[in-house]
């Protein structure tokens, strides 16, 4: 930075990709139980897993994260509020100064819950809504889910919760509604969060029907650039290839943080590289192992490997590689294409042939808690 510094410090991005002593941000799915059955559920949730962490184990995870100075944890599921000890876990996290952002479908945010949540400073809520209108949303999230989400938002607004988040996964069906969503968020005094659809969990099956078209990818890149106050969870970094000629990059760190700055603790304590790769190949250990979470984060072979500089592979000859870094590992893995090559949603279309060729060969997630489909039996 200046002439007074004798040794050059490696660039920040290099240091981040080399891994940190603890994750910057960690996702913790509290339960696989869910009252909904969204077609793109990243964790294939539905039924509770009998090996789910107990209350005591969950509180111990909170203590471990606090000791590691993890500033906040993203709690999800399943539907986290289904756990009877949900507030015990959240309250303990806040007592230990670990902020909580939690993701919910809103079904259980009645007036009383909204008031309780409004009293907590370190609690941040995001309500999932995947269509501006009930028809678009319920096609993905199930009948009644739009109404439940809107009711939760109304309850939070009425309880003066403050700035909650409305979280949408961008699909080809809700892409045209981005401006409507933005207005809805503004009307609520809420913040809009738009993230990328990934072929994870039940998304392995629904991805090809829901993902953005090439024109929409360009459209969303422009829309995000025009709306810097909209949160994206850094999930569209693969689209930075579209800004290479104009020198534009999306806000955020713009790198794959899997096993480097982020990871996932699943409901049974398994630690994965990121929330979108629930598969044995990306499992680093379990919080029940000796040494707990810190041991897994710092010493697992898998994470050590993921922190090594990656290979550009088939992207080496592409002049946009520096901008997009080859995209999302999870998206490549669950579409069955080469991990050292373009993202299936490569904005320049470089993966289109590979994705088509790999159709039907994608690996299945290691955990599937989907409820069995109930067939109506005629009398």
């Amino acid at each position: 930075m200046t002439a007074t510094q004798p040794a050059p410090v490696p660039a920040l991005v290099e240091q981040l990709t080399g891994g940190l002593d603890a994750p910057i941000c960690l996702t913790w799915e509290l339960t696989y139980a869910c009252n909904l059955a969204c077609v793109h559920c990243l964790s294939s949730s539905g039924r509770r897993d009998p090996k789910e962490l107990s209350t005591a184990e969950a509180l111990s995870v909170v203590d471990q994260l606090a000791d590691l100075q993890v500033f906040y944890v993203n709690i999800g599921g399943g539907e986290p509020m289904i756990r009877k000890d949900f507030f015990d876990i959240v309250d303990h996290a806040i007592d230990r100064h670990v902020g909580v952002k939690f993701s919910t479908n809103g079904y259980y945010i009645d007036k009383a819950a909204a008031e309780r949540m409004a009293r907590s400073d370190l609690l941040d809520i995001q309500i999932s809504l995947d269509g501006f209108d009930a028809e678009t949303n319920d096609a993905v999230r199930g009948p009644g889910s739009w109404e439940a989400a809107r009711r939760a938002m109304d309850n939070l607004a009425e309880a003066n919760f403050g700035e909650f988040k409305i979280s949408i996964v961008a699909t080809r069906h809700n892409f045209d509604q981005l401006d409507d969503y933005k207005k809805m968020a503004d009307d609520y005094g809420a913040q809009l969060r738009v993230t990328r659809l990934r072929p994870s969990g039940r998304g392995v099956d629904s991805y090809h029907d829901l993902r953005l078209t090439h024109d929409q990818q360009y459209g969303i890149f422009r829309w995000i650039m025009d709306h810097p106050d909209v949160l994206t969870g850094d999930s569209f970094f693969h689209l930075n290839a579209l800004g290479k000629d104009t020198g534009e990059t999306l806000p955020g760190l713009n790198l794959c943080g899997a096993g480097r700055i982020v990871c996932l603790i699943d409901p049974i304590g398994d630690v994965y590289a990121c929330p979108f790769v629930i598969h044995d190949e990306f499992k680093a250990g379990n919080v029940r192992d000796e040494g707990g979470f810190a041991q897994v984060w710092r010493h697992s072979d898998l994470f050590a490997e993921m922190r090594e500089p990656g290979s550009a592979g088939a992207c080496a000859s592409c002049n946009a590689y520096d901008a997009c870094g080859g995209g999302c590992v999870a998206a490549k893995f669950f579409t069955g294409i080469d991990l050292n090559g373009p993202d299936p949603d490569c904005a320049l279309g470089h993966a289109d042939d590979a994705v088509a060729a790999a159709m039907g060969t994608a690996p299945k997630p290691s955990q599937d808690h989907s409820r069995p489909v109930r067939l109506t039996v005629k009398p």
């Binding site: 200046t2 002439a3 007074t4 500033f71 906040y72």
Partner: protein
């Protein structure tokens, strides 16, 4: 709710009590518990400066004492770094009673 302030390096500043600082190989991660913003302090010297600000009567004096800049470029680089930390709410002016 954000406690950001116009940066004046001739006055006294301190690390915000709303900030969590986590040491990292590159410096530190700062997290603002109110605004939920994450900020990177990209050198250990900058971390020392943020931690030591309150012990000096002005940010300029803190830079002289802690950074010991050898030229104007280094001095102004640190003023600029502090200004952006003030904008992010990582540091706050010390209230004059």
């Amino acid at each position: 709710m954000a406690t950001t302030a116009e940066f004046d390096s001739t006055t006294r500043w301190e690390r915000s009590p709303k900030i969590g600082l986590r040491p990292e190989p590159f410096g530190a991660l700062a997290y603002h518990f109110d605004t939920r913003r994450l900020v990177f302090l990209k050198s250990n010297k900058l971390v020392d400066l943020v931690d030591g600000l309150a012990d000096h009567e002005s940010a300029d004096a803190a830079i002289e004492a802690i950074i010991e800049p050898t030229d104007e470029r280094s001095r102004s680089a640190h003023v600029k770094a502090l200004a952006s930390l003030a904008e992010a709410g990582v540091i706050e002016p010390v209230a004059i009673l």
